[in-house]
């Protein structure tokens, strides 16, 4: 019987993508929109494979409901938009059962629980976290986790 991991023989690089990148895909006026779209193309050709944290669905839906309430997106477009985001088939990393690593990140780097959980996911799977959130990038040193600005990835 072949080793299970050997079926992944094509060149794919997994990356954790947070909600700030997804919202930049959706809203054309976002400062990082153009870069995020170029980055998305890399997901379409299989160069990169997206991983999201368990609270991604919650965060992106919250943000899109706000966008609709503020007139940026038509309410009628939301179901299709959410279905399309789901259809990107990003793998969902479950939220950590252990509070300690998340709390440690929150305490040491002044992060919110959500921010800390994104970073914890990247650390747990030993993957880079691609984000459009400069505040988060500035808060976390490179020796803790690799956070990559989406503007730089797609440059």
């Amino acid at each position: 019987m072949p080793p299970i991991e050997h079926w992944r023989s094509w060149p794919v690089s997994d990356v954790v993508i947070d909600s700030s990148v997804a919202i930049a895909w959706v809203l054309e006026d976002e400062p990082a929109h153009k870069h995020a779209m170029r980055f998305m193309d890399a997901l379409g050709d299989g160069t990169l494979d997206p991983v999201v944290s368990g609270h991604f669905r919650f965060e992106i839906r919250h943000a899109l409901v706000r966008a609709a309430r503020r007139g940026r997106v038509d309410w009628a477009d939301l179901p299709t938009l959410l279905a399309a985001l789901d259809a990107l088939e990003a793998r969902t990393a479950p939220l950590s059962d252990a509070d300690a690593p998340v709390l440690e990140l929150a305490q040491n780097h002044q992060l919110t629980w959500s921010d800390a959980h994104w970073v914890e996911t990247a650390i747990r799977y030993d993957l880079p976290l691609v984000t459009a959130d400069l505040r988060l990038i500035r808060s976390v040193p490179d020796d803790v986790a690799i956070l990559v600005d989406v503007r730089g990835v797609a440059a």
């Binding site: 019987m1 072949p2 299970i4 079926w7 992944r8 023989s9 094509w10 909600s19 700030s20 919202i23 930049a24 895909w25 959706v26 809203l27 054309e28 006026d29 976002e30 400062p31 929109h33 779209m37 998305m40 193309d41 997901l43 379409g44 050709d45 299989g46 965060e59 919250h62 943000a63 706000r66 966008a67 503020r70 007139g71 940026r72 997106v73 038509d74 477009d77 179901p79 299709t80 938009l81 279905a83 399309a84 985001l85 789901d86 259809a87 990107l88 088939e89 793998r91 969902t92 919110t112 629980w113 959500s114 921010d115 459009a132 959130d133 505040r135």
Partner: protein
């Protein structure tokens, strides 16, 4: 108004990126609606849920789609031959590209925020002001305050 699609279970599995086993489970739980045509069960899907997938050859249908969201790491039944793995990958990328086109098309229809707020501001409002700790309208109030600041700065 777009018409509902009536698909066989293997077709629905390929379109939704789920295994046939998952489709049957969702039918049993009532999550997916069906109709009968003679002895055949057809899954009824709204077009926006059914992403175009590559044709899946008979006999390898189960292996050509991922096993639900938790099982995306797998490619289906053993043996994991190169052919099956590649077919799985190509089908998944085709579904992903179709979804990307939809996102691109809909993003062109979005508009600027009236106060210059960004989507990241919306996300920060939720992250920084969790309703469990600060009340149900805490994020709304924070965002409104930020909007006032942006208006003042203009």
């Amino acid at each position: 108004m777009t018409a509902t699609l009536a698909l066989s279970v293997p077709e629905a599995a390929a379109r939704l990126g789920r295994s046939e086993r998952t489709i049957w489970r969702q039918i049993r739980s009532g999550e997916l609606h069906t109709q009968r045509e003679g002895r055949r069960v057809q899954v009824l899907l709204e077009p926006e849920r059914a992403w175009p997938a590559l044709p899946v050859p008979r006999g390898t249908r189960e292996a050509a789609v991922p096993y639900g969201t938790q099982d995306d790491w797998q490619v289906g039944r053993w043996p994991y031959t190169t052919e099956i793995v590649e077919r799985h990958r190509v089908a998944k990328l085709a579904r992903r590209r179709a979804a990307m086109e939809t996102i691109k098309e809909l993003s062109r229809r979005t508009r600027p925020d009236p106060d210059g707020l960004t989507g990241l501001d919306y996300i920060h409002a939720e992250r920084d002001h969790p309703r469990a700790l600060e009340g149900s309208d805490a994020a709304d109030r924070a965002l409104e305050e930020l909007a006032r600041e942006r208006r003042r700065d203009r």
